[in-house]
């Protein structure tokens, strides 16, 4: 995958993840162009289109367009599945996710994406495992620095094992 974009029906960008090094100016141009092309599509048209030398797979969920640009030999249908899996992850995490959630918690959307995809390829095909990883990273944010030793000892990524050392109430999560 070359890049993934999320944008609203009004053409506002909500998330962009680039898996190929491109300059900022070039990125902006591509985003603008692609948004125009995708937003011009009618609802009954198929989810694939050709743009420049790439294939673009897009799907609309409520007011958000999820758009992936893949290369010639990639499978379009599985990319649709990939997009759906990401939306399911977001939904599980936020609980009935809507565009507002992604707007106000964009950094979390990025974190979830980074747990699911890496370099454009799927990391883990198990929804449970990805969500658990995110949950435990979030918990990790809430443990204070002084317990760095505790951090080292909490091998929380073995299935079913939760950190033992959630000792402090002082939370440092981002949204407070």
């Amino acid at each position: 995958m070359r890049f993934m974009l999320l944008f609203s029906r009004q053409g506002k960008l909500r998330l962009q993840k680039w898996y190929l090094a491109t300059s900022d100016k070039e990125r902006k141009k591509m985003v603008r162009e692609l948004m125009q092309v995708v937003l011009a599509r009618k609802p009954k048209m198929c989810s694939f289109l050709e743009w420049r030398d790439l294939k673009v797979v897009y799907k609309r969920y409520a007011s958000l367009y999820f758009c992936c640009a893949i290369e010639g030999q990639d499978n379009e249908l599985i990319t649709l599945e990939l997009i759906h899996r990401y939306v399911e992850l977001l939904d599980k995490y936020f609980g009935s996710v809507c565009e507002l959630d992604i707007i106000f918690n964009f950094e979390k959307a990025y974190f979830i994406l980074d747990e699911f995809l890496m370099g454009g390829d799927v990391q883990d095909t198990s929804k449970k495992s990805v969500l658990k990883a995110i949950e435990q990273a979030d918990l990790l944010q809430e443990v204070r620095v002084r317990d760095k030793g505790a951090l080292n000892r909490s091998f929380f990524f073995f299935p079913g094992v939760f950190p033992f050392f959630k000792t402090h109430t002082h939370t440092q999560s981002l949204c407070c």
Binding site: S8, L13, R14, K17, A21, K28, M45, C46, S47, F48, L49, A62, S63, Q73, N75, L77, I78, L80, E81, L82, R85, V87, L90, D91, K92, F94, G95, S96, C98, E99, L100, D101, I103, F104, N105, F106, E107, F111, D114, E115, M118, G119, D121, Q123, D124, T125, S126, S129, A133, A137, L140, V143, K148, L151, F155, F157, S173, L174, C175, C176
Partner: protein
Amino acid sequence: MDSNPSSQKLSSEGALLGSPRPVRQSRRLEVVKKILPLNSKSQRPEVRGFKIALQGGPGGAGSHNRGGETEGSDQARTFLGAWTRKRWGESRGVETEARMVASSLKLQDLIQEIRGAKTQAQEREVIQKECAHIRASFRDGDPLHSHRQLAKLLYVHMLGYPAHFGQMECLKLIASPRFTDKRVGYLGAMLLLDERQDAHLLITNSIKNDLSQGIEAVQGLALCTLSAMGSAEMCRDLAPEVEKLLLQPSPYVRKKAVLTAVHMIRKVPELSDIFLPPCAQLLHERHHGILLGTVTLITELCERSPAALQHFRKVVPQLVHTLRTLVMTGCSAEHSVSGVSDPFLQVQILRLLRILGRNHEESSETMNDLLAQVATNTDTSRNAGNAVLFETVLTIMDIRSAAGLRVLAVNILGRFLLNSDRNIRYVALTSLLKLVQSDHSAVQRHRPTVVECLWEPDASLSRRALELSLALVNSSNVRAMTQELQGFLESCPPDLRADCASGILLAAERFAPTKRWHIDTILRVLTTAGTYVRDDAVANLIQLIGGAQELHAYSVHRLYSALAEDISQQPLVQVAAWCIGEYGDLLLEGTCEETEPLQVEKEEVLALLERVLQSQMSLPATRGYALTALMKLSTRLHGDNNRICQVMSIYGSCQNVELQQRAVEYNALFRKYDHLRAAVLEKMPLVERGGPQVDEEAKESKEVAQLSEAAPLPTETQASKLLDLLDLLDGPSENAQHPPPLDPTPGDTLIHLLDLPCAPRPPAPIPNLKVFEREGLELNLSFVRPPGTPTLLLITVTATNTSGGDVTHFICQAAVPKVCRRPGLRGSLDTPGEKATK
């Protein structure tokens, strides 16, 4: 959700107050609408709380409602108190104290503010102010809240504003021991830094430290960042670290390390040496994530190096076994998607098998059974199953599969074509297009379905269907297909018309069963989509008609009727004008067995041509055709030619130089050379089909040549000069007027488009050679290849005696290498001072 009655009252009030509100209201609803209509039990408390607060307050109706703020804010203070003052204060231009002191607005508050801005200018103002705060905070250092500042900066960056001053802060945050800082710092690095910035190399050290740290989450972050924005230098530096991580006990880190290795190999292919050895062992993993990563890694390695490809052929049995287990025995529910066990892994394995089996008999054979199994056992009711099936089809087509398997694959694609899901049809059309060359007969079976797809409302589907249909035309189905395609041409969207028209014409060229059908087809295309055809279509049609003697009457009748109906389609008008000019006598005869008899009066014909001449829609080229046609009719039709003379004299003063020249020349023909007129304007001989350009030039210059022959000038040199300039094509031509050409023609380059056989070019002539000169004796060699026998080279040796005395004992011997066969020497003897030639 809106359980607060006061808020309900507000929203209803809001709806009454202002006209733009209902529109905004719906936008708010759209934004709040769930993305997935699923019931979800888990909901993080603070997020839920935040959502309710957001929707419950006047902000629910008002915050995303630009117009409602002023009214809403009064109620806001009454109902919700100071908590909202911070937000609503901004809109009233009041700086709240809280903000000035802390100067660390929470991220979500900032987002709220920005969304509350009514205009672009206001948004810019808010952002500039905030950026100033952020910059100050970065400068002064605020370790507790710097992650928050960076997060705000990242949001602003996403909106499109410059955020480069955050780069160093990213580095600082990454180096911090706190996880929160690291998380945001790495995110910032991925968004703000890339290989083009100089700062990115500074991360390398931090990443190295984090990789060896031992806290999995941190290692995960570092690996993720490395794979997202790692440049070649970074990859080279950190490759040993990543290699170590491949052997870590924790699957979480290993799966990430494998994918980081994939990125490294993309950036620095030489690193394959490091990452190749662990692959074989990693393939035995049970963990799906690691397995997936490993398969991706092996795919990447094989794509880049044939040696690796060779090396990995031995894992084909292992892959086959894994895939078979997945398909037949399934896997745990957490990996399944709508009944298909781990489609992502299946697709990836199939892709790797494709690469390994390509052009390799043995591997392909190992896979045959498995592919058949996958193809038959996959549930195709949902997209996941279809994705796997699609990948299987692609693999079958690419490897050396058994014939039966290939037929199975094409049948699967045929089934896809009938699927109600548009995406699947699209994918099927694309794949069939790739297959049509290699498995033509198999794809032919699905021709009716493909033609159905032409009528899709979706433009990308109909375009694909058009390409495929054109590729499927062959000599047996050409009539039916052309019928369908012409029907499509009449109603297709404009951007497809040109392709459709040229496609039909090309197909007609290649497979026309009869000349009459061919002419009919081209005529129909010109009538329907005349403006979209290529320029050479006119010349082709003219040439075609000219060559079909028996169809002259038929053609001219049909063209006349078509022209009488519509004089706007330029190519049609041009052809019709030419035809009427050439075969006008046949038109007036009125009898033609192939169409219904048409009674045409001479005056009508002339009137029509005059109408074409005068019409605004006619191009100058078209007018030229019409003028010439009128001229020709002066000999074809009987009766007086006053009308034609009149037209010629009018056009003698036309603005267009080309038309004027013609008219003047024709006038001259009427006045001074009337006795020659019949000869000059007699029916044109058949033009050699060399190239489209050539025909045009040939026609025009023929006329010019004929006219100048009539003029009392040294005709031979004139004509030969003109004919030399013509660059007419090679080969024996039917007319003595065309000497064999010496130069290659420009028409050659266009020939491949028409896919026609053409006579080979004559080789360039070899220049004369002076080979010997001494004491008055000169030897010259001249070379001629007679046109009929290109393998024969006639060499003439000319010996010249320029001295005063006699030359005696002159012996000429010719030695040739064995490759040449010497037919014989013929020579004539000499007298002093004369040339002797052999």
